[in-house]
């Protein structure tokens, strides 16, 4: 039974298995870093798309929305070819390192964050347009004001990006190489154990992964609640 088999993984947690903790720690480091990076790029882009009018805007919006569905393995492959020693960015020497994984995941989830931010900001702008225009708030100040006032909706956006990155295996497998103790994360470990036939362990690790993702979401929600009560 999968539930009983999952006990193996729980035993590992309970006994404080160092390797499991290292893998979970690396997974969180890679995905949280990627989310941060994607937010830095994606949120201003989303806000700009919401507020600016320029030729080709609609085409760009369709492109960004479509890019939400980029297959992780394809993103991984492209980043791999870029970062390989034989590729244009080979000099950086970061293939098969956690840095490459962070970059690949950040590329993967930037469209999600940009697209959802665009929608949130567009809706908020409809509400704020008169007031901000009357106060002559424009340009970067306008973007910053809207992003800050939308912060609670944007937390959900970040969680969406985080979830997508935490769940993917294709990109990190290819650019990380699943190196034991160095670039092995939860999802690649599950894939590896499955391919070795260790299905009980793989399922157990799957439950651990889901629990970790839920924990991050719970924390974010609690933070939002606290923040709302203090500054709503």
């Amino acid at each position: 039974m999968a539930v009983l088999d999952g006990m193996t993984a729980l035993e590992l947690i309970w006994s404080g298995d160092a390797r499991l903790f290292q893998i979970v720690g690396l997974s969180l480091f890679v995905t949280l870093s990627a989310t941060l990076l994607a937010a830095t790029a994606g949120m201003p882009l989303g806000a700009l798309l919401a507020l600016s009018r320029f030729p080709g805007r609609h085409a760009l919006i369709v492109l960004v929305n479509g890019a939400m569905g980029l297959p992780p393995v394809v993103v991984g492959l492209v980043v791999f070819l870029l970062l390989s020693r034989s590729g244009p960015l080979g000099e950086l020497g970061i293939l098969f390192t956690p840095q490459a994984m962070i970059i690949a995941q950040a590329i993967l989830i930037s469209p999600i964050i940009a697209a959802l931010t665009r929608q949130v900001i567009e809706d908020l702008w409809a509400e704020y347009r008169d007031e901000l225009t009357a106060m002559h708030v424009a340009g970067a100040q306008r973007v910053a004001t809207l992003l800050w006032d939308a912060r609670f909706s944007l937390i959900t956006t970040l969680l969406a990006g985080f979830g997508r990155a935490a769940a993917e295996v294709g990109a990190v497998m290819i650019v990380g190489g699943n190196i034991d103790g160095f670039t092995r994360v939860m999802t690649t470990t599950i894939a590896l154990e499955t391919s070795k036939g260790n299905l009980p362990l793989a399922i157990g690790l799957g439950f651990v992964l889901i629990a970790v993702i839920l924990a991050v979401n719970a924390l974010a929600w609690a933070a939002r609640g606290w923040s709302e009560r203090h500054a709503g």
Binding site: Y128, A134, M135, V137, W148, D149, R151, A231, G232
Partner: protein
């Protein structure tokens, strides 16, 4: 002091509407509006719903562009409009405390958001004790007053108000009217839309009656209320519906 009473306000006033028209798509809203808003006591805009009062105010603030005619300011529109402020019928509170809303308005007006200034502004509208309260959790009347504080933070020469007490109870209405009167006494030109005749009687220096997108009458308050010039005005004052 919130505004310098001795300040020369001739940059922003008078505001001259020259045969201004506005349409939303193909629906005409205002036509042939010619009017001078001059320095002095408050100008009240009266008229039934849909008569174009809100559109008039938004045209004056530059939120809308006329489809015909011009709006002329003494010193040029761009400069003058920065010396104007507006309070909307349903003001939007920023997602932060009352004090920070005022600070935001100060910064937007290129004024230093100093705590002393913020406190004075909040005191003037009677919200000093609610400075730390999240603005979205204020009551309707309190939000209206905060919007006033934000507008006054700009130290405006002209303050436009769009039915600011329409959804308030009498007590809240009184406190808002008191603030408006005090502001007018300090030399700020008030241009206010209302459909409350009593309010117009209480506050107006001169009155503009709008109906069906046009100006029916523009007169000093005593003349308007006691000796109206047009039949429409008479019917309006008598409480009839103007179709």
């Amino acid at each position: 002091m919130l505004a310098s009473p001795m300040r020369d306000r001739s940059n922003s006033l008078p505001i001259v509407f020259q045969d201004v028209a506005y349409a939303a798509g193909r629906t005409p809203i205002l036509s042939a509006i010619s009017l001078v808003i001059a320095a002095g006591p408050p100008t009240l805009l009266l008229g039934p719903n849909g008569s174009g009062k809100t559109t008039f105010l938004r045209l004056a603030m530059g939120l809308l562009t006329p489809v015909a005619g011009r709006i002329v300011f003494a010193s040029g529109a761009e400069l003058a409009r920065r010396r104007c402020a507006i309070v909307f019928q349903k003001p939007v509170m920023l997602r932060r405390s009352a004090a920070r809303n005022v600070a935001f308005a100060l910064k937007a007006a290129a004024r230093a958001p100093e705590p002393a200034t913020i406190e004075r502004l909040l005191q003037a509208v009677g919200l000093a004790s609610l400075a730390a309260r999240p603005a979205r959790r204020l009551s309707g009347g309190e939000q209206q007053r905060l919007a006033l504080a934000r507008a006054l933070a700009r130290d405006p020469d002209v303050l436009f108000l769009d039915e600011p007490t329409a959804s308030l109870d009498p007590a809240a209405t009184k406190s808002v009217e008191d603030i408006i009167v005090r502001t007018a006494e300090r030399g700020v030109k008030i241009v206010m839309a209302t459909h409350d005749l009593g309010q117009a009687r209480r506050l107006a220096g001169d009155v503009v009656l709008l109906a069906n997108g046009g100006i029916v009458e523009h007169a000093a308050a005593p003349a308007f209320f006691q000796a109206p010039a047009t039949a429409t005005t008479k019917r309006f004052l008598a409480g009839e519906l103007i179709l």
